[in-house]
Structures are given as structure tokens and as C-alpha cells.
Symmetry: C2
Subunit: 163 residues, 2 copies
Amino acid sequence: MSDEIRPGEEQLPFDPADRIEAGLSFVGTIRSPWSKGGCPRNISRARETGKGARIELCPGYGRALLGLKVGQPVIAVYWMHRSRRDLAVQAPGHADGPRGTFALRSPVRPNPLAMSTVMITSLDAEAGVIGIDAIDVFDGTPLIDLKPWLSTVDLPPGWTPDT
Amino acid sequence: MSDEIRPGEEQLPFDPADRIEAGLSFVGTIRSPWSKGGCPRNISRARETGKGARIELCPGYGRALLGLKVGQPVIAVYWMHRSRRDLAVQAPGHADGPRGTFALRSPVRPNPLAMSTVMITSLDAEAGVIGIDAIDVFDGTPLIDLKPWLSTVDLPPGWTPDT
């Protein structure tokens, strides 16, 4: 983990990793075709490769899939365990200037959790394995939650494709 | 926290709270008009009340808002700290039968994090306070992340209002 600060970046006055107030338990592992150096830059690029991925739940979680269906969108929430947590302002290469951590989807954040909306392509509740259409994370990334995507909760109010 | 099991519900073979592998640091607090017994059932109902809410960031996080704008949709991620974590299958009143935890948005889950897509109605980076259009959580709920909503990441692929 780098602790370099790029021009325009600002550190928080503390490291959130030193102020832990609640605990996460990993519920599974994301199996993807990607490793360091070869990961698509975002999920759209990952989709363009045509390569799917797989979620392997930890033993005991298979029954928690009851009611999910192939073809359904779900939100995968995962933990970017290699990311630093202490930046308030970041200067990513793709942005036109420094931006606050809460204005970015960067894995660098006080709580390095990330999420993507993905499609279920296969489902084996017995084995606790879910196929998904694509994902832009390294193989082995820990999963912390899986939620059904709901237009009533997950769309901005009043959103249409033209907005 | 109740440990009652309703008909059709199933417990995990362990309590995820006993298997903590990563730590969360609260970054703020949600200030809502809602307390136990009076919380809207979902965010659509909360919007119908016309009552907004407020996110108060912990000291030090104001700069992390740089680049966010009033009128922008953001995903608020919060921690349902009063929820039990050990159910694999649940029988909520609104559903037509038992459903797996990963097929529900219930706060009862291995990692009781929840999220809503909300609109920014005001922004005071100096004070670290963000007004939001509505939310369906109790006053005092701890915030763990704030992310810009992005159609490329947060919409199911190929989604249109008719699907």
C-alpha cells in the first residue's frame, strides 16, 4: 500500500483505520479473470471483454440465495482490502483536477467498500456459487454483501435515460 | 435485538458477528425525522412525507465533499447497528413467503449495511453537512460511505424504464 501523496491530494487529519467502530465478516470471494496489472478500468470495460466472473459464498450461506433468479440484477458489495483509507482529496488520472473522496468511486476511501450492479448468469444455491456477467475487481476480492437491485431504491428519484 | 425465529426462517450455522475480518470507521451521522415506531417503510414512503434529512460528517471529512453538487444523486451507505446478523432465510411480512437474506433488502444480514440513492439538496463543506431529499432510517444512524451515483456502474446493463 503506497502512502505517497500526489500534487493536489490531501490527507485526512487521522487514519480511519485507527478508529474502528464496527466489524465486517466476509461472506464470500469474487473469482474474476483479473490480477494486478490486467484489470479493466471500470465495469463497462469489463463487460466489453465478454468475460464473466463468479461469486463463491463461504460455507453456510447457500440458503441465503433463496428467491434470487438468473437474469436478475444484484448489487455486489465488496471490500477493497489493499486500499489506503486516509485521503480526503484525490487527484486521479482520469479527472480534470483534484476531487473529494466522496465525489469519487475510487477504492481509496475511509471504508474501502465498493459496489457494482451485475446480472446473475447462473445460480447454484447448493454449492453457494453465483455466475455474474462481469466485474472489474481482482480475483480473490472479499464479498461483504449481495442485495437485489430495486428501481425504487437504487434509481435517483425521477430519473429517466435522458437526464 | 430480538433472537426470535419466525416460521419459515432459518439461522446461519454461525453468527457472522463472531467472525470479524475487517473494520469500519463511521464517517458521519444521518439526522432524520424518524425514531422507533415512526419510520417510513421504505424510501418512496419517506419521499411522500416531503420531509428531508441531513448528513452530518465527522470532523475532518468536509474536504472529501469537493466536487459534489446540489441536485446530484449520491449513494448513502449506512450501518444498521441494531440489526441481528445470523439469519439465512427470513419471512418478512410484505413478502409472499420465506426469502433468502441476499434476495432481500432487510437490515438483517451478515453485514448490516444498507444503502439508498438520494438527491443532494444542500451542501456546506465547511461544516461537513449535506441536505438530502429523504431517507427511511432512524435519526442517529451511522454513515459509512457516500458515493456519486453513476449510471454506468449503478444501472443494470441494458436497463430501460420498461424492463
